[in-house]
């Protein structure tokens, strides 16, 4: 126990040097915790937004649909499929969709849109589309010949609630498809391009419009939680191993559907890891330098201690503890600063208005910096800092304890 007191006193022999070293550690710990929390938060939000905007965690479609996105690739929403999706415990929610391309026209003005046929009852179990209503309301279960547009699209067309809009396209049967629909609502979307180019019909109306029968383009499935995604895919693949109506299925997670997003997240995590490594190495060398200096300027003193018979192991432990104490103080203060700050931003996401907002919108994201502190983050940063401190203390401790007392006494 006395070694702890001795070490503690040694640490504060040169308060300025120690203070600077602690400040550096505090800074590094703060940065690591802060940026890890921010990256985690932003990544989770990106995944969540993407998944809850459209795709779900897992998408079921016909093989080839994702690559070609034409009406040629379809699956049939038959009782087997409905039953499987309704009863599988891994399924939190599911929504069938029909997607195609169409022209929406108000009087002479028209725009090309992605036409999305959704089931008004099931869609809210997967996506937030129904909650994004800006004016009017979302499609309803009993509604017929109703249309919902992105707010910007409605504005561009000069369409107001209650207007009858002409939708024109090419049906599955290759005949012209056209019909009139009443605008019942507009929705806000995080992506401006999407808001300018999305029109929603009820699934039934879309199937009629496209002469598509009970065919659908895809089913978006929501997992119980994001980390159950792979389990959900396995469960679906097993339950639907024979396909639907004898036709094979492509069952893919959002990672497979959006490899670019997945890769971007990996890349981003990689650059973060690099920053963490650099900070940790710098802190490690800082501690090494501080302790080594402290040992070297005490060569004579340590020599005396050894000469009067102090066990080298105790000297080793003392220097080791000095290194640990230095890092521990920095860590505690660093965490003491970082945790409240992260928790604050977790509750109050940073709104990136101004120049950066444009870039975010371009990528279809809300310009929000979200934080997610997480226990792992705090735990891992603490363990890393301590481990690095111990590693850095090893050499000075070895040097202090294994010196020759005679030479040590002669020095200085």
């Amino acid at each position: 126990m006395s070694m702890w007191r001795l070490a503690w006193r040694n640490v504060w022999r040169n308060p300025r040097r120690t203070g600077l070293m602690i400040a550096a550690t505090v800074f590094a710990v703060f940065l690591v915790v802060f940026f890890v929390a921010m990256t985690n938060g932003v990544h989770q939000k990106m995944i969540e937004d993407t998944v809850r905007l459209h795709s779900g965690h897992v998408t079921i479609s016909a093989p080839g649909y994702t690559e070609n996105r034409t009406l040629d690739y379809f699956l049939r929403l038959d009782t087997t499929l409905i039953h499987t999706l309704d009863t599988l415990p891994e399924v939190q929610g599911w929504a069938p969709r029909v997607t195609s391309f169409a022209l929406v026209s108000k009087e002479v003005e028209s725009r090309g849109v992605a036409l999305l046929g959704v089931d008004p009852r099931r869609e809210p179990t997967v996506t937030t589309l129904a909650r994004r209503v800006r004016t009017g309301r979302f499609l309803t279960v009993g509604g017929d010949h109703e249309i919902v547009l992105g707010t910007r699209l409605a504005k561009r067309l000069g369409a107001r609630l209650g207007d009858r809009l002409l939708v024109y396209g090419v049906a599955y049967s290759l005949e012209s498809a056209y019909d009139l629909y009443t605008l019942v609502g507009t929705i806000t979307l995080p992506n401006a391009a999407l808001e300018r180019g999305l029109a929603l019909l009820s699934l039934r109306n879309a199937q009629d419009f496209l002469v598509y029968g009970n065919r659908i383009s895809e089913v978006a499935v929501l997992a119980r939680s994001a980390d159950r995604t792979d389990a959900l895919r396995s469960a679906l693949r097993k339950a639907l191993a024979n396909g639907v109506g004898g036709r094979p299925l492509a069952i893919r997670t959002w990672r497979e559907m959006m490899p670019d997003l997945d890769q971007l997240l990996t890349l981003d995590s990689g650059s973060l890891a690099m920053m963490v490594v650099i900070l940790v190495v710098v802190v490690g060398f800082g501690i090494l330098n501080t302790i080594l200096m402290a040992v070297l300027e005490r060569t004579r003193e340590l020599g005396v201690m050894l000469a009067v018979g102090l066990h080298p192991g105790k000297v080793f432990r003392m220097v080791f503890i000095e290194s640990f104490a230095l890092a521990a103080i920095g860590l505690v203060i660093g965490l003491g600063l970082a945790i409240p700050v992260c928790l604050y931003f977790e509750a109050h996401p940073i709104d990136l208005s101004g120049q950066v907002a444009g870039a975010y919108e371009f990528f279809g994201l809300e310009p929000l910096l979200v934080f997610n502190l997480g226990v792992e983050n705090v735990l891992y940063s603490s363990l890393t800092t301590i481990a690095v401190a111990l590693l850095a203390g090893f050499y000075p401790a070895l040097k202090a304890s294994h010196g020759d007392p005679v030479t040590a006494l002669r020095s200085l």
Binding site: V42, L53, H54, F101, L174, Y178, N191, L194, L198, L365
Partner: protein
């Protein structure tokens, strides 16, 4: 339809890609690498005979075009669409009037019943469409020029000709193919059309085979700007008319859609006819036709 649906359809829904501006560079870099690779890919050229002296590529392109259209052309014909989706071919009957100098054209559909009376009017780069059943006229945005026309493999651009293969492209004579298999072994001049820089064209390159004797177009291959061949148009059933050699059958095959093809069959074509200027009016669009 599928082409643009792929680009601006549900793909938009998942354009969530990045969270910082620099991240935008990554897809760009990837594209650069991919496209660079494609560009560097060697193209296998057919064995051609050298070009005979005294032939001018621009003139040949001009003469090839003259066999298809004049300054004022009237056309009546059928378009037959084949698709694996259909149990039998789908036929669209239509007439068209084109005023090449005025950059105006008008198309009226006569069949199938659902589309009777539907009409298209193009004046310069504006395209309108009228659907009698819902009594609505809609303007088709220029961005939709590559959309399928009436469910066929032809695009809006093909029918209303916003671009001109004569004016908007630079022509180069590559050589002579002694016996073009797809045209019954006819001797053909092979030309390459590359778009002018600011031309409003949708293709990256067109390869054209022109009959060496009467300069009728025999075959055209359309490439995108990456150099991928997207579709092949074959001309056949040639008729002599007003000093022209006119193909009465135009078969289009999109290479990215197996089993799909569209044939336009000419029932009547008249060159340099007088066309009343009231044809090219929005009033004519909405005119009742029985």
């Amino acid at each position: 339809m599928s082409g643009v649906a792929r680009a601006s359809g549900p793909g938009v829904l998942r354009s969530v890609q990045g969270r910082s501006a620099w991240a935008a560079l990554i897809p760009l870099l990837v594209q650069f690498l991919v496209f660079g690779g494609l560009l560097a890919r060697p193209t296998t050229a057919p064995a051609l005979e050298p070009v005979p002296a005294g032939l001018d590529a621009d003139l040949i392109a001009h003469r090839a075009d003259d066999n298809l259209r004049s300054d004022r052309t009237f056309f009546r014909g059928r378009m037959v669409v084949n698709s694996p989706r259909l149990s039998g071919p789908r036929t669209v009957v239509f007439s068209s009037w084109e005023d090449r100098l005025g950059k105006r054209s008008f198309i009226r559909i006569h069949a199938p019943p659902k589309d009777v009376g539907t009409a298209f009017l193009k004046i310069h780069s504006n395209l309108w469409m009228y659907i009698p059943r819902v009594e609505s006229t809609m303007r088709i945005p220029p961005s939709l020029m590559l959309q399928s026309w009436m469910g066929s493999d032809f695009t809006n651009d093909d029918l209303v000709r916003e671009s001109s293969e004569v004016e908007d492209y630079a022509h180069r004579l590559l050589g002579v193919e002694p016996a073009l298999a797809s045209a019954g072994g006819r001797r053909a001049l092979v030309l390459e059309y590359l778009p002018h820089e600011d031309a409003p064209v949708v293709w990256g390159k067109i390869m054209v085979w022109v009959d060496a004797e009467h300069y009728a177009p025999l075959r055209e291959e359309f490439y995108d700007e990456r150099g991928t061949k997207l579709r092949v148009l074959r001309f056949s059933d040639f008729h002599r008319l007003d000093g022209r050699t006119v193909p009465y059958r135009w078969s289009l095959k999109p290479l990215d859609k197996p089993g799909h093809s569209t044939v336009i069959v000419v029932d009547e074509i008249r060159f340099d006819v007088a066309i009343d200027s009231t044809v090219f009016t929005t009033r004519n669009l909405t005119r009742r036709v029985e």
